[in-house]
């Protein structure tokens, strides 16, 4: 496989959501080094992202009683705002000129996986999304502090039920296991201790506003991971994130989502040392330059949202303009991935989990629906005989296999059918 095409393809698909028409060709001309620098350099202003209008997500207040006339407008507003929020984020992913910010926000959403299904209010999820975006390439300790104070996360993990009298271990355990250290890097006694240190948080569910109720707070020192301290939320975040295990864990998670969910992380992976200062952008930059990004062995399956957004970019579609948003969410749901609704606190699965015959079926139906809504201008601008070769550049595919070329050639006179096969090809579903 052509090394430059492979690396360029990976840079565009993994550190963003794939190329728009022409972008892959441009990147090949620029060369790998320049492409890497561009992919990693977030511009001060993103004109594409700026075109996405922020939805009005409001505090919907307490849920009215059942069977009252107030429940109907409440339920309508809830559904409408939740849908608007999903569309807003999908649009940002699809139309941003620079992909890294949304890609990292998406990564962190799967990391601090919180679902609106328990919250049942959009505003706290919207606030959390902004917190993740603001910190997505910043300092991991700062992010962890912000997340301990995040209403959606606190509510999701029963933080508001964690009190001096009755500690609830849900948040404390996950904070160590899934968010900062990794499983097995603490004891059950540490879980008890950290849970005591996290008591007293109160969440206004409809707004996500977090306060601390001093009466419910256990202010005694606790012994956590060998250190006896009276922690605050902030000092706890600093303490956890400073541990070596935290650098190890974050590099493992980055490896899993950006390099390979199937192969083990080699010791040579340079991200852990680059993360010494807990600067996320340094870790991401190291990852984009690591040898693994050039190694054919490390293929990665695009998750349904990643596949959908890259298809939108290729077809120049804006998610919120698709008919209809409800149908779009339904397709994503069938494929098993709707933003703001991860299946559990562990986030979405990866790899072969997205490659069942059921998803193959849904993907074909989804792609057919998308293609119908695109004018396919880019494909029509190529002569049928050019389409097989040029479509690899259009989609940012490193190389079509012989098998796929045969299928595409067979459909080269029919742009819609051609696009369908290309988008559902193994080479496009998998980031080679």
């Amino acid at each position: 496989m052509n090394a430059q095409r492979l690396e360029t393809s990976r840079l565009l698909h993994r550190f963003g959501f794939g190329p728009r028409p022409g972008e892959f060709t441009q990147a090949l001309q620029d060369g790998v080094a320049a492409t890497r620098t561009r992919v990693l350099t977030v511009p001060a202003v993103d004109a594409g992202a700026a075109t996405v209008v922020e939805p009005e997500i409001t505090d919907l207040g307490p849920r009215p009683k059942p069977n009252t006339k107030e429940i109907v407008p409440f339920a309508i507003a809830m559904r409408y705002q939740s849908q608007q929020m999903v569309m807003w984020w999908l649009d940002r992913m699809a139309v941003s000129d620079h992909g890294l910010t949304e890609k990292m926000t998406w990564f962190w959403h799967g990391h601090w996986a919180t679902s609106i299904q328990k919250l049942n209010y959009p505003l706290p999820m919207f606030k959390q999304n902004k917190t993740l975006r603001a910190n997505c390439l910043g300092n991991f300790a700062t992010m962890t502090k912000a997340m301990i104070n995040d209403g959606a996360l606190q509510f999701w993990l029963d933080g508001q039920d964690n009190t001096l009298k009755a500690p609830n271990e849900n948040l404390g355990r996950e904070l160590m296991e899934l968010f900062t250290l990794g499983v097995g890097r603490y004891t059950e006694d540490d879980v008890k201790s950290i849970s005591r240190a996290l008591t007293g948080y109160q969440v206004a569910r409809s707004s996500g506003e977090v306060t601390i109720n001093e009466k419910r707070r256990d202010k005694n020192p606790v012994t956590l991971l060998g250190s006896t301290t009276a922690f605050t939320g902030d000092s706890l975040a600093d303490f956890l994130v400073a541990r070596e295990d935290s650098a190890q864990f974050v590099s493992e998670r980055l490896w899993y989502r950006f390099i390979s969910s199937t192969e083990e992380m080699p010791k040579s992976f340079t991200v852990k040392s680059a993360f010494a200062s807990r600067d996320i952008s340094a870790a991401v930059a190291a990852m984009a330059a690591d040898n693994s990004i050039r190694d054919e062995k490390y293929a990665l399956v695009k998750s349904p949202v990643e596949w959908f957004i890259s298809a939108c970019r290729a077809l120049e579609l804006t998610p919120s303009q698709l008919k209809t948003p409800a149908q779009l969410i339904n397709y994503l749901d069938k494929l098993g991935q709707v933003p703001f609704s991860p299946p559990n606190v562990g986030g979405w699965p990866a790899g072969e989990a997205w490659l069942s015959s059921a998803t193959a079926q849904y993907r074909i139906a989804f792609a057919t629906w998308l293609i119908k809504q695109s004018d396919l201008q880019i494909l029509k601008s190529m002569t049928p005989a050019q389409r097989v070769v040029k479509s690899a550049d259009w989609l940012g595919v490193a190389e079509w296999s012989a098998r796929t070329k045969v299928a595409l050639r067979d459909a080269q006179k029919d742009p819609a059918q051609f696009a369908l096969l290309a988008l559902c090809s193994p080479e496009y579903i998998v980031s080679a």
Partner: protein, 409 residues
């Protein structure tokens, strides 16, 4: 709603995460092929577990319609005595459950009253985890049927859950049940089918994941001549149903769809002893337009239809259906959010071999336990009975030493 609620629940443990992510996904043709190659021996008992996600309001399912306290406790949401379907002088079924009432009259329905576990937990997630793991005191990562699967010889067809995500119920320590996503989509035909078939050829140069992507598409088309009849066949027809949509045919719903697939595959002889289906949406805090009655109607209609479909197979006497929800709801209808998750509720066990009638004590509305219905029957009594009588297996490997049994089989 259904998958959302199930996924919502699957948040509960990281153990379930690992298992859920690794659950084998079956395709319907794989099961159909197995049904042809090695059908379940005739007469083998089959368990169908129906999970109602969200906490079904037991008091409005099996209604104490002659108890004045029922009416005074929840004046706004109680059913009038002349609306309900009386089962005896004290209890009646929800008006939407006409189909189940018919099965009750045929003595095919056991209603176990006041079922729950000690120290009821009002979180959907925790309470459903307790029910599915059958471990109310200590959190564990295996489901009770998953532990039963562990005791059986390995077979991906042994226990199948409908839907793309596997519930922890079927997660064992060594093995777990399989998930069968509901299809219902049209497989490409004609030129496109040929081109897709071309795309699905595994190439020598493919990476492991690319080969898997190709294979996933190939499986889609991999419906052999042998399997096709099973897939294409309509669901078995209930001989008692009128040919047009009869009163008890019910509207289409996801549960009905799931049970259609189950009845087809049971009829075809799938080597499956446990089926898991589910319906979500019972979290009726927001009881918009009698959501519960609508859902109970779906449960009643789809199960009645399912029982009818089984009649035209040779296995109608082999199937036992068990229905549960993670908790009942509060006695007093106060309507404010978050406070109306309750404690115990009724369980239904249905089948031709079931001894119909009431089991367990009806929780008193007068002597409430911390303002909630008391738990009068431990769910492990029901599970133990099912393990012994339906799955013909010893109880201990699954539930430990548990002595309670209920005589409904």
């Amino acid at each position: 709603m259904d998958t959302v609620t199930r996924r919502k629940f699957l948040k509960l443990t990281t153990g379930a995460v690992a298992v859920g992510a690794a659950a084998p996904l079956l395709s319907i043709d794989e099961i159909a092929q197995a049904a042809i190659d090695r059908p379940l021996p005739a007469g083998t008992p089959i368990l169908v577990v129906v999970t109602l996600y969200g906490g079904n309001d037991g008091l409005n399912t099996v209604v104490p319609y002659t108890d004045p306290l029922y009416y005074s406790s929840r004046p706004e949401i109680s059913y009038k005595a002349d609306q309900v379907l009386p089962l005896d002088a004290e209890l009646a079924l929800n008006p939407a459950m006409k189909g189940l009432k018919g099965l009750w009259d045929q003595k095919k329905v056991a209603i176990v009253r006041g079922v729950g576990y000690p120290d009821p937990d009002r979180s959907h997630f925790s309470s459903m985890a307790k029910w599915q793991t059958a471990s109310p005191a200590k959190h564990i990562n295996t489901g009770w049927l998953g532990r039963w699967i562990d005791t059986q010889s390995e077979d991906p067809m042994l226990a199948i859950s409908l839907g793309s995500v596997l519930p922890p119920l079927l997660a064992g320590a060594k093995r777990s049940g399989s998930a069968l996503p509901l299809g219902g989509l049209v497989i490409p035909k004609g030129a496109l089918a040929a081109q897709c078939a071309q795309l699905s050829k595994v190439s020598k140069k493919d990476s492991k994941l690319m080969a898997a992507a190709a294979t996933s598409m190939r499986n889609l088309f991999n419906v052999s001549g042998n399997v096709q009849p099973v897939l294409k066949a309509p669901a078995p027809v209930d001989p008692d149903l009128p040919t047009t949509n009869g009163g008890n045919a019910g509207g289409d719903s996801n549960l009905a769809q799931q049970l259609d697939v189950v009845s087809k595959l049971i009829a075809a002889g799938s080597p499956t002893k446990v089926w898991s289906v589910s319906l979500g949406g019972f979290d009726t805090h927001a009881n918009e337009a009698n959501a519960q009655a609508e859902l109970l109607g779906v449960v009643s209609d789809s199960l009645t239809r399912f029982m009818g479909q089984l009649k035209s197979t040779t296995r109608s006497n082999d199937v036992t259906i068990m229905i549960y929800s993670e908790f009942g709801r509060r006695v007093v209808g106060n309507g404010s959010q978050g406070t109306d998750h309750g404690t115990s509720g009724p369980m239904f066990v249905i089948g031709n071999s079931v001894k119909g009638g009431f089991y367990g004590e009806q929780p008193s509305l007068k002597n409430l336990y911390k303002n909630d219905l008391a738990v009068t029957t431990d769910f492990r009594d029901v599970y133990a009975t099912v393990i012994e009588k339906v799955l013909k297996s010893p109880v201990e490997p699954t539930l430990g030493k548990w002595s309670g049994r209920i005589n409904f089989l």
